[in-house]
């Protein structure tokens, strides 16, 4: 039973951390309609940068913020390549993702794994050290939970501000943004900065939870994030009062659950990435079958 509970705790911990990334990818993929591959590079970027900073003794929360900014910078570069130099959205992401691989090696000083045990992280210093006794087992769960809720609320509020409305309009009708005398390209760059900033921060938090940064951690992050977004927004579409940001975090937890269950019944570790892609494929196919009828009706009303 204890094993089961600790597995469950682990699922939620990681589900929440990846949930931060899912909220970011929700901004780029759903709000901006931009399939952003930068995520595979910005996730380990945040993780490696946090690893370096924490091992240098920088305050762990400051490290998280700096990771967020590094991801925002990476996302802006993708945006600038796309908006200012007219490179397609997929290629812009691939270019930055590839370049980030080298950047991450520079940060970790050529090592694939950067461990920082015994260094203060957000989970073992400051607020993290105030959890004692029985609560200590739930420390990471509570902290990641609170963190993802804070991120969710900030993004929800932002999307209701004037700037947020403009961002949403830039995704659904760029011409409308132009008509309002604003540069829709700038809003795209901003959206990509937010998306990759949150992704990098998620990487940083995961690194601190694991006490190490892995340069390979980015592989499959696009799939993981998109799967969370699509599972969340599809499954909870009917629940009107639920915000999309909540839905994608739950999507992330569900996706993590599927992966953990497969591992639990004995799937060898090497099949993990195949499973990640497999679940995503199933989600996409069922989404198309379920959504097919609805989509046709929508197209008709559009015409």
């Amino acid at each position: 039973m204890d094993v089961f509970i600790s597995l469950l705790i682990n699922i939620f911990e990681e589900g929440f951390i990846y949930g931060i990334m899912a909220i970011g990818v929700y901004i780029t993929y759903k709000v901006l309609d931009f399939p952003d591959l930068t995520v595979d590079g910005s996730f380990p970027l945040g993780m490696c940068l946090t690893g370096l900073l924490v091992s240098l003794g920088v305050d762990p929360w400051v490290s998280c913020i700096l990771s967020l900014l590094s991801g925002a910078l990476a996302g802006s570069i993708t945006g600038i390549l796309h908006v200012k130099f007219h490179i397609t959205n997929l290629l812009s992401g691939i270019l930055v993702m590839t370049a980030l691989w080298s950047m991450n090696l520079v940060i970790t000083n050529d090592s694939a794994v950067l461990s920082f045990f015994n260094k203060p992280t957000i989970f073992n210093s400051g607020i993290g050290s105030s959890f004692t006794g029985v609560m200590e087992d739930y420390k990471v769960l509570i902290m990641t939970g609170v963190l993802v809720i804070i991120v969710k609320i900030i993004i929800d509020i932002y999307l209701k501000t004037k700037s947020g409305l403009l961002l949403r309009a830039a995704g659904s009708n760029p011409q409308f943004v132009t008509s309002l005398g604003r540069d829709s390209g700038k809003m795209k760059i901003l959206g990509l900065a937010i998306g990759n900033g949150l992704t990098a921060m998620a990487g940083g938090v995961l690194g601190q939870q694991a006490n190490s940064a892995n340069i390979n951690s980015g592989t499959g992050m696009v799939v993981m994030a998109l799967a969370s977004v699509i599972i969340g927004t599809t499954l909870f579409r009917k629940i009107k009062i639920m915000k999309a940001t909540t839905a994608v975090v739950l999507g992330s937890v569900l996706y993590k659950t599927c992966l953990s269950l497969a591992m639990l019944i004995g799937l060898p570790n090497k099949f993990l990435k195949m499973l990640m892609a497999g679940i995503f494929a199933v989600v996409l196919i069922s989404n198309n079958i379920l959504g097919g009828r609805r989509k046709r009706i929508y197209d008709k009303t559009k015409k």
């Binding site: 932002y158 004037k162 005398g181 559009k302």
Partner: protein
């Protein structure tokens, strides 16, 4: 200083928009090279409501695109209130040129509610910062504006614009385009995609807004009846040139038959 500037603008008596010696060639240096304009000139005076008609390929829509900045001119000057806007991008020109497109989907944001669309339209002159998007205190104002459309949209503030009909969306787009101060309203065949009843309604609203808000407007249309019935100046274009330009009394005397005759004449001359 600012006051002085305002006075200067108020005293500006020249044409609101002036297109001077416009040249435009598509696909230059290729087999598909088409020169649309060699030397196009047009002055639009304040409070003129111009209907532009002409066959396909006569350059009507191209003129709008050049004016709004969706296309760049090869040569020539575009002046708005006497100042060159050649170097301004489309979104920068949109601050003083309002545009309604043929496609009703272009003038509004489908994902947002009517209320949010209205709030954004009002923010056009202001900042799009981190202030709350919808100001509840302005609800009554939005409702009064929407009631001008007589489509009952004032009771549907929280409905997503994407679920409205084409006619409703186009009326809303027209309202949004004219809500803040603009120097010129550009209407790009804005009734062409609507059913006859909605088209009549949108056209009537256009006329009402142009008169009430004292706008200057440039309307491209294929509907000869609209061109005759509305506006105070009519221009017929052919092959990148103006073949008929009638304003005020001269325009009032025009009949649909006159225009059809002129059309046929051109067709015979060019052997179409």
């Amino acid at each position: 200083m600012i006051k002085q500037k305002n006075n200067m603008l108020a005293e500006f008596n020249g044409p609101i928009v002036s297109l001077q010696h416009i040249q435009k060639t598509f696909n230059p240096h290729s087999v598909n090279e088409i020169t649309i304009f060699q030397d196009f000139n047009l002055d639009i005076k304040k409070h003129q409501f111009i209907s532009v008609i002409g066959s396909n390929g006569s350059g009507k829509t191209t003129i709008l695109n050049l004016l709004c900045g969706s296309l760049a001119v090869d040569n020539g000057k575009i002046l708005v209130k006497g100042k060159s806007v050649n170097k301004k991008k489309e979104f920068q020109r949109a601050k003083f040129i309002g545009r309604v497109f043929q496609d009703p989907a272009k003038g509004t944001c489908p994902e947002l509610t009517i209320l949010e669309n209205m709030a954004m339209a009002e923010a056009k002159d202001k900042h799009f910062g981190l202030a709350f998007g919808v100001n509840r205190k302005r609800m009554d104002y939005y409702k009064s504006q929407l009631s001008l459309l007589k489509l009952g949209l004032e009771d549907k503030l929280h409905v997503q614009v994407g679920s409205l009909s084409g006619g409703q969306r186009q009326a809303l787009a027209l309202l949004i385009a004219t809500m803040t101060h603009i120097d010129l309203l550009v209407l790009d065949e804005h009734t062409a995609a609507l059913d006859p009843k909605s088209a009549d309604n949108v056209m009537r609203l256009t006329d009402q807004f142009v008169k009430e808000k004292q706008l200057t407007a440039l309307m491209v249309t294929h509907n000869l009846k609209f061109a005759i019935d509305y506006g105070n100046r009519l221009i017929m274009m052919h092959k990148g040139g103006i073949v008929l330009d009638a304003a005020y009394e001269k325009k009032d005397a025009l009949q649909v038959d006159d225009l059809l005759n002129q059309f046929n004449q051109i067709s015979i001359e060019t052997g179409n």
